[in-house]
Subunit: 343 residues, 2 copies
DNA sequence: TTTTGTTGTTAAACCGGTTTAACGAAATGG
DNA sequence: CCATTTCGTTAAACCGGTTTAACAACAAAA
């Protein structure tokens, strides 16, 4: 691969001039510019991204940090999110480095710092060690989701209006006459779960309605299959007390699907016997089911692109306003799976 | 950010020694090693990935090139594939750079070559300009899918046994008495579509059965919504001649879902009136539908990890055998959506 | 005419590491 | 005991660009 010196020699100019032709940072006369480009073409030369990065300290790359485990592959929500990130980033010629290494187990000593300009952090957890790492090394970052209390003041983040969303769908069910609602929530280790729990109970509070047996259940561990989680919990809570609950709020449509399967086995009809809805439609086809599942569209793609914008604002790229927090409103899609409560 | 010279000074050694402590390329005495590590810890030093790459010519990064458009977001099949790529790559500390820029429109002149050790190419097309680019610049690459004739001799690729799969499911339907089968294929611009078409007709040939009205339809364009494609084609072909076709093979389960919706509207029952199956289960929940959709699991995750292995073999990383082609066998999952042909 | 400003170009320093060649000290061997 | 390896360390060169400071050439201003 030919280098800048080769081009400089061939075009009879200095390497500085060649550099300026390609970076466009200083004006070069038409005549010299053409000489250089011609020489470059003949030598099949293109500038080395890495050598350039070394001195400019810009990598034109942002890292998308996804905590990843074998049992917890990417969901459709993630895909939408990644799609949003890619779209916005590539509009400024930025590229995405998928980073799945959790910093937890790595010895800092032997780790080399990443070659990225900034980081987008997915699925923040309580006591998330990634945050400490990024703050320590002064790497600009944006979180998608709710940072834990400890770090919230120092972090820039994009999130859904989760409390409100949980409140709204619960209120909707309350208005339909439901009083005993089972909420199959995300695991406690995910920051979002307690926020949604608060929204859930706020709905009862605002409506001045007694929550009766309404209950929030948390997924035991991140590794459990979501569908199985829904299935098992419904079997557990509906076998004991068949008439107790008249509605289920599932964390994701996968959980909802498992719940639906369990209900079918228990001979309970959706929505006649039990109303069912889910907070995230990871599967994009909820509406093709029978009955179509009511879900909340969390606008993954928007979350992704907004996160990139917040990061670009920090990096001084483009013309984005530097803000601390951006809330993306989810959209509640009411479909056939909801019914007024049975007497 | 402290650099290698700072550490060297503090530890009273040369930078070369510090370098060797971190890279482990030459033995260093226990005593000196500890001095260096201690100094590094105090200075919060970690080696710069970029400076290292500049001289080693290794970026520890592979690019995953996905042709991308606003109307054609990542599917679940892609996700599985990406998951496989991530798993295998990260096992050797390699990272993934998502690259969505198609080289088509970029002026080569102003483009800097990528900072990656190798490339994995998704969704190869006929006349795919990316291939020429990679060959020109001598960048190691592996294709997932079938390269076009033009490049097949020069390319290393991973693919499903597509012809055989198409043949097998068609044979299966023929054995069940089906004679008029509608095959809703991928667009012609995707190399896989003609290969599967060949498999489809080979099944009739092998069984010495007349294909009658059996027909292969190609998706007009990549941009059409798959579900709509299935819906429209079924409406078109089943309205004209309600008794013609007794089975449908859909390209993906999304297409199948659209087909299923159309059949319902036409008052045709699956599987009693029409058997339905799909070649790729992008949605992971085909089996939760009623009736469960028969699909072929294309093993996206395996395709991804095999591709990385073939690339690593080229790059001399790990201990993988250098081979030209790896075929990953899909798995045909027979579920409720297939029935013997109606008289 | 001299001074000041502008434009285009260059040589040299620099970015932060790795690698090479050389070398002294300690270990091995005859 | 001296010659030969081996081991650990270092100074200097290098990777392929960008940036700085200096300067020549020419135009505009005084």
């Amino acid at each position: 691969m030919s280098k800048i010196d080769d081009v400089a020699k061939k075009a009879n100019v200095s390497k500085g001039t060649v550099s300026n032709v390609f970076s466009g940072k200083r004006p070069i006369s038409e005549k010299v510019k053409n000489q250089v480009l011609e020489a470059a073409k003949e030598l099949n030369y293109t500038p080395s991204h890495i050598a350039r990065s070394l001195v400019t300290k810009k990598t034109m790359t942002i890292s998308l940090n996804i905590p990843y485990s074998k049992n917890l592959p990417l969901s459709n929500f993630h895909i939408n999110l990644i799609n949003g990130v890619i779209m916005e980033a590539s509009s400024h010629n930025y590229r995405i480095l998928i980073d799945t290494l959790s910093r937890e187990n790595l010895e800092l000593q032997y780790m080399s710092r990443e070659a990225v300009d900034g980081v987008i952090l997915l699925d923040p957890r309580e006591n998330d060690s990634r945050m400490k790492y990024l703050l320590d090394f002064n790497i600009p970052f944006v979180i998608i989701g709710q940072p834990s209390e400890e770090y919230i003041a120092q972090s820039i983040y994009v999130d859904n209006n989760n409390k409100e969303l949980a409140k709204n769908i619960t209120s909707f069910l309350i208005n339909k006459g439901h009083r005993n609602i089972l909420y199959l929530n995300a695991p406690l280790s995910m920051t979002v779960s307690t926020i949604r729990q608060n929204g859930f109970f706020k709905a009862f509070n605002d409506a001045q309605v007694n929550p009766n047996n309404s209950k929030v259940v948390f997924k035991d561990s991140l590794d459990i299959d979501p569908s199985l989680y829904g299935y098992n919990k419904v079997k557990e809570f509906f076998s004991k007390n068949r008439d107790g609950y008249t509605a289920i709020i599932a964390d994701t449509d996968k959980v909802g699907l498992g719940a639906s399967r369990a209900l079918k086995e228990l001979d309970l009809a959706v929505p006649e016997d039990v109303s069912l809805l889910a907070l995230s439609d990871d599967l994009v086809l909820s509406h093709e089911l029978a009955p179509p599942l009511s879900t909340v569209d969390l606008k993954g793609s928007e979350l992704g692109s907004e996160a990139v914008r917040l990061l670009f604002a920090q990096l001084g790229i483009g013309n984005y306003k530097k803000i601390q927090t951006k809330i993306v409103e989810g959209k509640f899609n009411i479909r056939g799976s909801i019914h007024t409560a049975k007497e």
